[in-house]
């Protein structure tokens, strides 16, 4: 399809504007985190690193951060085990209801998060389970499984089954085959899935609102602080920290995935 120079130019300008629209808010948030003033006004007159040290020393922020990390690690672990298993099951075996299983896996992401949150809240309420780290983990793991599943199943579709057959033919036990063949071929897909799952869990706020009770994860602390309108400059510092912490694993996961695409 031959595009005129005018069309190309207008498309390029439009795309540039879209990128600006997407990136500028993130730049704004970074700038305000270094703003020395107590009230955020534009333009910024004086710069400081003070808000980062205040946020770092705030015990409420610290305990929220710890809870988020713990919940993220636990949820990622569960999502990893269950996601890899279901990816294998769906990929290797033909069975009645296979389509239904794939649909079931995306359901926690396709349905509004508030539905998952309220459903778990009602169930915990019914059986009298008190809110704890584990209630948060249960919610997070449920929507993280599909992330691991997607990464692993995509890799399985691209690797052939003959390696596994050869391994068994040569006398390897199932465990040896898993250790020597399956895990090495899947390792980067599994790592990428785990990083994405952790980032998703670390940032989640809607389901967590309904499964945390009185506890604060880092997103819940941020939500509460914005809502109350206090500690505003400190929020900027915390939020920049959260973005930095999620972007690093995501960028790494993307690099693994793109290296993968080049190799194949």
């Amino acid at each position: 399809m031959r595009l005129s120079t005018f069309t190309r130019l207008s498309l390029a300008i439009f795309a540039g504007l879209v990128i600006l629209f997407l990136i500028v808010p993130l730049i704004v948030i970074v700038f305000f985190a270094f703003d020395a003033s107590n009230v955020q006004t534009f333009p910024i007159h004086q710069w400081t690193l003070n808000w980062f040290s205040i946020a770092w020393r705030d015990p409420a922020v610290r305990s929220a951060f710890l809870l988020s990390v713990k919940a993220g690690l636990f949820a990622t672990l569960i999502a990893l085990v269950l996601g890899v298993m279901v990816a294998f099951g769906i990929h290797r075996f033909k069975f009645f209801g296979r389509e239904a299983v794939s649909l079931l896996l995306v359901l926690p992401l396709a349905l509004p998060g508030i539905v998952t949150g309220l459903a778990l809240h009602s169930a915990f309420n019914l059986i009298g389970l008190p809110f704890s780290l584990y209630t948060i983990v249960i919610g997070h793991a449920t929507f993280c499984i599909v992330v691991v599943f997607n990464n692993v199943v995509a890799r399985l579709r691209r690797t052939s089954n003959s390696l596994h057959e050869a391994s068994s033919d040569l006398g390897a036990t199932p465990l040896q085959t898993i250790r020597l063949i399956t895990l090495p071929t899947l390792s980067t897909a599994i790592i990428a899935g785990a990083l994405l799952a952790f980032a998703l869990s670390f940032d989640e706020v809607i389901v967590t609102t309904f499964t945390a009770g009185a506890q604060n994860t880092l997103p819940l602390w941020i939500f509460g602080a914005i809502r109350l309108g206090q500690q505003l400059p400190e929020i900027n510092a915390v939020v920049v920290g959260v973005v930095a912490l999620t972007i690093v694993p995501i960028a790494y996961a993307a690099r693994i995935a793109s290296g993968d695409r080049v190799k194949n």
């Binding site: 399809m1 948030i29 955020q40 279901v86 349905l111 309220l118 809240h121």
Partner: protein, 297 residues
């Protein structure tokens, strides 16, 4: 010659090898049980709770079957207007994101060089994965009366806009938040269209607009529908943006659910409202399935 333990694992391996259904059942049952026991059972509990009521005096849930929650939602005009407001916003935001994502994704997939494409895709990762609350907070800083936008406007001598706590602000922020979720599936749909098809279309005399409209759009439609599932569902279930950006008179279904479940102590009523969102989203998913979006997810 093999040790007993080893021969035992080998025998287990042989047994499993000869019975694929057993291997299948063993690998699939833990994840499926998780989804059945935790997710589906919880959904079922919530759906049943929607037909219970809360005792006004004790605050306990009375386990007596009643339609009262649903009749309250249908007959009180405040809930009808909440549902209508949420749906309107979901539709408007979805359309806005489609209009932005179509030319952008086309440019990304079919016009730029490989190197630029990689660079722009990397830039897209940032807004896609940056913390949701960080993005909402950024917009509060931009739109508020002393924020960036009025600041720039007054420096340029323009009249300042007062967008904070309006529906327009909510529309901008929602469109911003979900735009990457629309771009990603639409972009991959464009990427899958072979260039030869576009060449064939222009060889047969179609101009670039006709090729775009009659060859490309139908082929990326599943991607558009897949993206719209996200934009629609995410808007439908949100209560944070309406609260922080929209202000007091802009309640969504999500806010009503949040208030009755966590502040009002009326879990059955919250469950009935969630029931309604499931029905709306279920209808949307059926439509999406009909349009073939699930192959594109």
């Amino acid at each position: 010659m093999a040790s007993p333990a080893n021969s035992l694992t080998q025998r287990t391996g042989a047994v499993l090898w000869r019975r694929p259904w057993l291997r299948g059942a063993l690998t699939l049952s833990p994840p499926l049980l998780w989804f059945l026991i935790i997710y589906l059972a919880s959904l079922a509990v919530m759906l049943v709770t929607a037909f219970f009521s809360t005792d006004a005096l004790t605050g306990n849930i009375s386990h007596q079957w009643t339609w009262s929650n649903f009749s309250q939602i249908v007959h009180q005009s405040v809930y009808a207007s909440i549902v209508l407001r949420t749906l309107t916003m979901a539709v408007v935001v979805t359309i806005t994101d489609i209009i932005i994502a179509l030319p952008f994704s086309f440019f990304l997939a079919k016009v730029v060089t490989w190197r630029w494409r990689q660079f722009l895709l990397a830039l897209l990762l940032l807004p896609l994965w940056a913390s949701y609350l960080a993005k909402v907070y950024a917009w509060i800083n931009i739109l508020s009366d002393k924020g960036v936008l009025p600041g720039i406007e007054s420096r340029l001598g323009l009249p300042t806009t007062h967008l904070a706590y309006t529906n327009v602000a909510m529309w901008i922020v929602f469109s911003y938040l979900w735009l990457p979720f629309m771009i990603v599936p639409v972009y991959s749909a464009f990427e899958r269209v072979p260039d030869s098809l576009m060449e064939a279309s222009s060889d047969l005399g179609a101009g670039s607009w006709r090729t775009f409209r009659w060859v490309l759009i139908p082929m990326v439609l599943p991607g558009i529908v897949a993206g719209s599932i996200f934009t629609f569902s995410l808007t439908l279930g949100d209560f944070i943006t309406p609260l922080l950006i929209g202000g007091s008179s802009s309640n969504f279904i999500g806010n009503a659910i949040y208030d009755s479940a966590l502040n009002g102590g009326n879990l059955p009523f919250a469950a009935a409202l969630a029931f309604i969102s499931i029905i709306i989203m279920g209808g949307y998913l059926l439509m999406a399935r009909w349009a073939g979006a699930f192959e594109a997810l």
